[in-house]
């Protein structure tokens, strides 16, 4: 009976405290910035609440510094509102690889004589950050710098590659459910996904469409052929034999313990 009440108590606590993000909403940053709006711009806290940073427990202090429970002064690490270049370093604190990829890309652009360079917030936003999918590449984001026709062509290629990869994933999952050997297909698909995502940070827009067509789509076709060629194994027959043998041994030991 005592145990029952203890369990109820522990489960009851989880009614309010199941969501540890509640602790984020009680911090000093949110308390002020939730109620103020600057120059008619959307409220940062409300934007952040809809973002992937909110769902992954990344709060204000993780990017802007300071201690959200104790002290928000500049001399305690709070860096306030950064400029565009500083924002890349802010993102790079956690997303180190992406930061290095972008730095290489921008350097390549500068060496090629380009006068502009793209930063993280141009595609991913600042407070209303969404999960990184191909939908970050959309006419609204791209057309700020590029012509709409160029943007549409590129978006079409990207969506084609993305849908091809999703289709391959579904086929592999179907094969797994039917107990086909799919370990190498999974590995190849994930490698392909990795290379597909890496190009967005490494390659300039001019080369992106060409690289996707020549590498991603070609590799996807080869993987499709490999998937179609796989055959089922006798895994279950082997398992049934082992279980049967162990069961017989177990019954034998039970018989012996009765006899002895």
């Amino acid at each position: 009976m005592r145990l029952f009440f203890v369990m109820i108590l522990l489960l009851g606590c989880s009614v309010c405290h199941a969501d540890s993000r509640l602790t984020l909403l009680n911090d000093n940053c949110v308390r002020c910035h939730l109620t103020c709006e600057r120059n008619g711009k959307p409220n940062s806290v409300l934007l952040w609440k809809k973002s992937v940073h909110y769902t992954s427990n990344s709060g204000c202090a993780d990017c802007h510094g300071g201690n959200r429970y104790l002290d928000l002064k500049f001399n305690k690490g709070h860096i306030g509102l950064p400029d565009k270049r500083e924002s890349e370093q802010m993102c790079g604190q956690c997303h180190q690889y992406e930061y290095e990829q972008m730095a290489k890309r921008n350097l390549k652009g500068i060496l090629n004589g380009s006068k502009c360079s793209v930063s993280c917030i141009d595609c991913h936003g600042h407070h209303n950050i969404e999960p990184s999918t191909v939908h970050c590449i959309n006419a609204g984001n791209c057309s700020r710098c590029h012509s709409p026709d160029h943007a549409n062509d590129l978006i079409g290629t990207i969506r084609l590659a993305d849908s091809k990869l999703k289709s391959l994933k579904k086929q592999i999952q179907k094969r797994i459910r039917k107990r086909y050997p799919a370990a190498s297909s999974i590995a190849d698909l994930e490698k392909l996904n990795y290379e597909f995502k890496a190009v967005f940070h490494e390659i300039t827009m001019k080369e992106l469409s060409k690289v996707i067509r020549s590498q991603t789509l070609v590799s996807a076709t080869k993987l499709q052929t490999a998937i179609d060629d796989t055959k089922p194994t006798n895994w279950y027959v082997q398992g049934a034999c082992v279980i049967l043998f162990l069961s017989l041994c177990f019954v034998l030991t039970l018989y012996l313990s009765k006899v002895l």
Binding site: Q96, I176, V242, L246, L260
Partner: protein, 406 residues
């Protein structure tokens, strides 16, 4: 003339056969074989680990593909890989059952305290095996688990940065950490585990299996000579000699008796035995009776093990993808035995405070034989300790389930 080794073999068989062990009274007593089952599974892990070692490459660019190549290109590759991954989860479960049973029976007192300490060290080694083994495949889960592990090590006071540097050489999660984890998992931990396991089993052989907690010593006063050897052998001061001269007879304080059977071993008349309200202690020859019971327990565990390996592995082992530093998995969780501490860390306002609380709980558990030295063993008479142990078990299960859901 009988050769020496024949005579020694016959002596050994007689010794094993006539050596008595405690017979199980019901199904719950089969949990007493959890230590044997844990050791059997640990040996299985060692053998399957050797198979994987022959094909594994501790290089960041080749680690994952080597695990895939093992499954695709080598006979029984998938079987060994599944056995090793699922065995790791099962062996921790069995060791937890073993540990909680020892705690419940208070089988850590007196000369058994060294077994408790070596057992706790063994548990730490097994958890370290689990953590390092999780990282070796260098999949998505492995890579991000290594990042979280390094961040956790950094919060250790004083030596945190040193620990983190030792694993990464200051380079973040990279091939350096993978090779160091490989070295720890395949060289340091197995050597340490082999030595500690040998010590632990040797201590068990010396101090014998603990009797059920409701048992206490009882003297047949008619046959007793009053020699006092039983009182001299009792480390719990549960036997007092009353009377004088030839009328000296032992009186046993049942509340202090720990059921260690030292008095039974010392008594030249064999007039002491363990009894309870339900009757005498049941004993049986170690061979073949005890061996058959142990084999039943091991086979039952293996039945569960191979059922999971062959039929339930898609629900137990997550789809492995190679490490992708560009993508943080949405549902990142540690292995099941770390879910409860993980959930506690999430709930704490500060990681350091959470780690300190978990460390304090671990140290309390480690040093428990120094706190609870003697007294009542019968769980029915322990009104604080037994509910506290049961609450701890329930809390662990609740936090594990909560961590799995969140």
């Amino acid at each position: 003339m009988v050769s020496t080794w024949d005579a020694q073999l016959v002596d050994l068989v007689k010794k094993i056969h006539f050596e008595k062990t405690i017979a199980p009274r019901n199904l719950w007593d089969f949990l007493g074989y959890s230590g044997t089952v844990g050791a059997a599974l640990f040996i299985t892990q060692f053998c399957t680990g050797l198979m994987l070692l022959f094909h594994y490459s501790p290089d960041e660019t080749r680690a994952f593909s080597s695990t895939i190549a093992l499954k695709n290109n080598w006979p029984f590759g998938t079987l060994f890989s599944n056995m090793h991954a699922i065995g790791a989860k099962l062996v921790v479960c069995i060791i937890f059952i073993h540990m909680f049973r020892i705690l419940y029976f208070s089988a850590y007192r007196g000369h058994k305290s060294n077994q408790w300490f070596s057992g706790m060290i063994m548990l730490t080694i097994i958890l370290a095996f689990g953590f390092t083994g999780y990282i070796l495949p260098w999949s998505q889960q492995s890579y991000w688990a290594s990042i979280i592990g390094i961040e956790a090590f950094k919060t250790v006071p004083v030596i945190g940065d040193l620990l983190s540097w030792a694993l990464t050489a200051g380079q973040g999660s990279s091939v350096v950490i993978l090779f160091r984890i490989y070295f720890i998992h395949c060289i340091i931990l197995p050597v340490a585990a082999a030595y500690i396991l040998f010590l632990h089993i040797k201590q068990v052989r010396l101090t014998r299996i603990t009797a059920p907690p409701e048992m206490y010593a009882s003297v047949d006063l008619d046959r007793c000579l009053g020699c006092g050897l039983c009182s001299e052998g009792c480390t719990f001061e549960a036997i007092i000699l009353r009377g004088a001269g030839d009328e000296k007879r032992p009186e046993i304080k049942t509340k202090w008796c720990n059921g260690c059977r030292a008095c039974m071993e010392n008594c030249p008349q064999g007039c002491i035995e363990l009894v309870s309200d339900k009757g005498k202690l049941l004993r049986e020859p170690s061979f073949p009776h005890g061996a058959v019971h142990r084999a039943s327990a091991i086979l039952a565990a293996y039945l569960l093990f191979f059922t999971c390996v062959y039929f339930l592995y898609p629900f137990i082992l997550s789809d492995k993808a190679p490490a992708d530093p560009l993508q943080t998995p949405g549902n990142l969780k540690p292995d099941w035995y770390f879910l409860a501490p993980y959930q506690v860390l999430i709930l704490m306002p500060s990681k350091r405070l959470g780690l300190m609380i978990l460390s304090a709980l671990y140290m309390l558990l480690f040093s428990w034989p120094l706190i609870d030295r003697r007294g009542q063993r019968n769980p029915d008479n322990r009104i604080f300790f037994v509910p506290a142990v049961k609450t701890g078990i329930v809390a662990f299960m609740v936090f594990t389930f909560w961590g799995w859901l969140s």
